[in-house]
């Protein structure tokens, strides 16, 4: 078509030259980085074991079935503990996360310069550290047991809940808040009438969502001694009792499905 329009054909390019160069550069650097990293991993790997892996996997697999069903009677109590770790931990986290969220949201914080950065620091610290590491820390401080698990779960959840909640607070409709202010409401009244009704659905959704995640996470906290069904998993792994491991894994799977079902139901009911 270009020939018919003008003597010198117009050239069409997807990207201009600089963009193209940049794109190639990014791919090149990315690939190089991956290769270097892979070599580092490869160096510290005993490849003999890896080549042997299929045989070992098959071996473990055959040991894992059938599950040792009779073991289940020893698992009810740890399962109950797991539920409690997740639920009480989530409740404690909510209590602590709500004020942090209001301090972190730009439109409700008393001071963007001093208070907000502190609230954000609390959030990022809590979020950066996995609940297993929080457990490790708490087991080391207050000793093994369910309490360490509860505190670990709640410390990890503060950041999660507060982050999502403060984002919800920042997205509220300003007009509704203004209307309550214009009626002469005090700061607290504006909060209760203008802001809280707007974020309540998001808040409930976030809490249930985190509870769901916490059920998953609390199943493994026992690996570092923080109570729950993970303790049994650890004990079974230590004595290589694979049929028991299978049963525990099945139970964890069921717990995860159950919590996901509950959370979906509740969130559906709210919206």
């Amino acid at each position: 078509m270009a020939e018919t329009l003008s003597s010198s054909p117009k050239i069409w390019q997807h990207r201009n030259r600089n963009q193209q160069l940049l794109s190639w550069l990014i791919w090149l650097l990315g690939t190089a980085l991956f290769v270097v990293c892979w070599q580092k991993v490869s160096e510290s790997t005993t490849w003999f074991f890896v080549w042997d892996a299929p045989r070992i996997a098959a071996d473990i697999g055959s040991r894992m079935i059938p599950p040792r069903w009779s073991y289940i009677n020893e698992l009810w109590e740890p399962l109950w503990d797991t539920l409690n770790i997740a639920t009480i931990g989530t409740m404690m986290a909510i209590v602590m996360a709500v004020p942090v969220a209001f301090l972190a949201a730009r439109n409700t914080t008393p001071s963007t310069r001093f208070v907000r950065p502190i609230a954000l620091l609390i959030i990022v610290s809590s979020r950066s550290i996995n609940s297993l590491i929080w457990s490790l820390l708490l087991v080391s401080i207050i000793g093994p047991g369910v309490v360490a698990g509860i505190v670990a779960i709640s410390l990890r959840s503060i950041g999660f809940i507060a982050k999502l909640l403060y984002e919800a607070i920042e997205e509220i409709d300003k007009n509704q808040v203004e209307a309550v202010t214009a009626a002469g409401g005090s700061r607290l009244q504006v909060l209760v009438y203008g802001i809280v009704p707007q974020i309540l659905p998001a808040f409930a959704g976030i809490s249930v969502f985190r509870w769901d995640i916490n059920i998953r996470e609390s199943t493994v906290l026992g690996l570092v001694g923080a109570g729950g069904i993970g303790l049994q998993l650890n004990a079974s792994l230590n004595v290589l009792a694979w049929p028991q491991v299978t049963l525990i894994l099945i139970l964890i799977l069921l717990a995860v499905i159950f919590s996901e079902w509950v959370s979906a139901k509740v969130r559906h009911a709210i919206i």
């Binding site: 580092k40 473990i60 109950w80 590491i133 820390l137 499905i257």
Partner: protein, 282 residues
């Protein structure tokens, strides 16, 4: 103005003419059905009573722990980077290496599985298979997968890389599939209508629509993989976790604090950078 009549002090007098003065009002309850409402409240109370009752709190041990808690907080104020710097730096580098490798591998595997798990693209058997893989990956915590992989592949970062790649699949494929299922159909159909081949159709009709989100999710996953890489080390799958575990075992809270501060710092940095990149992509 000639209207000088003083107005009534109380709002109650302003417009009372038509209202029945004894008509009271209370807000409608959150749950209409009283049986269900009280049942739920009672259930919650019983649960709390039982669960808190079953907590076996060793107050003595906690009291003793306060001392160590103070030591940890003190350690946080004065983190000790130098004491075990070789261990920390090696562990950190290994964690970062694992993060990059596993994210790259994870993305590479996630994309085909994500396409396969989108009902509007894949035939039913492929769809079911891919959804199965996703469900399996999402059901188990990284640490459990890591234990199994360490048992199978031996100690070292490879087990960690495989664990994180596997976990990436569950996260990325699922969100990718949901994104593909909710794309604008008319755009895809328009490309199909030109008589394009299947690959061309993916490239022109689907890919442009999901690319920004794919990049955003990948960056987010990079972040998560770094945080998780600190965990898999606890069971011998490489990374900073092993160093951290040792530090806690020896009650070296200043070293542990140093590691945690490094983790927090790197997470903050990567969140900042990925926010910047995401803005550029959109």
């Amino acid at each position: 103005m000639n209207k000088t009549q003083s107005k009534p002090e109380n709002a109650g007098n302003t417009c009372q003419t038509s209202a029945n003065p004894a008509r009271t009002w209370s807000p409608p309850p959150f749950i209409e059905n009283p049986t269900l409402r009280w049942g739920l409240l009672l259930g919650l109370a019983i649960y709390l009573f039982l669960s808190i009752g079953s907590l076996d709190v060793n107050w003595n041990r906690i009291y003793e722990g306060l001392d160590r808690g103070a030591k940890f907080i003190f350690g946080f104020m004065n983190p000790n980077f130098a004491g075990r710097w070789t261990d920390i730096s090696e562990g950190m580098i290994e964690s970062l290496v694992m993060t990059v490798t596993s994210t790259a591998l994870g993305i590479a595997i996630s994309i085909p599985i994500g396409f396969g798990a989108a009902r509007n693209l894949a035939p039913l058997p492929v769809y079911l298979f891919c959804r199965g893989v996703i469900a399996l990956s999402r059901s188990f915590q990284e640490i459990i997968v890591a234990i199994l992989f360490v048992a199978i592949f031996g100690f070292g970062p490879l087990a960690g890389v495989l664990t994180l790649s596997f976990a990436t699949i569950g996260f990325l494929s699922k969100l990718l599939a949901e994104d593909i299922e909710s794309i604008d159909k008319s755009q895809a159909e328009a490309v199909q209508a030109t008589g394009s081949k299947w690959w061309q159709w993916l490239n022109y009709g689907i890919q442009p629509q999901i690319m920004p989100r794919l990049i955003g999710l990948s960056l987010y996953r990079l972040d998560i993989n770094f945080r998780e890489s600190a965990v898999v080390g606890l069971v011998g799958a490489g990374g900073i976790g092993a160093t951290l575990n040792t530090a806690f075992d020896r009650y070296e809270y200043d070293t542990a604090a140093a590691i945690l501060i490094l983790i927090i710092g790197i997470v903050m940095l990567s969140e900042y950078i990925s926010g910047y990149i995401r803005k550029g992509v959109q």
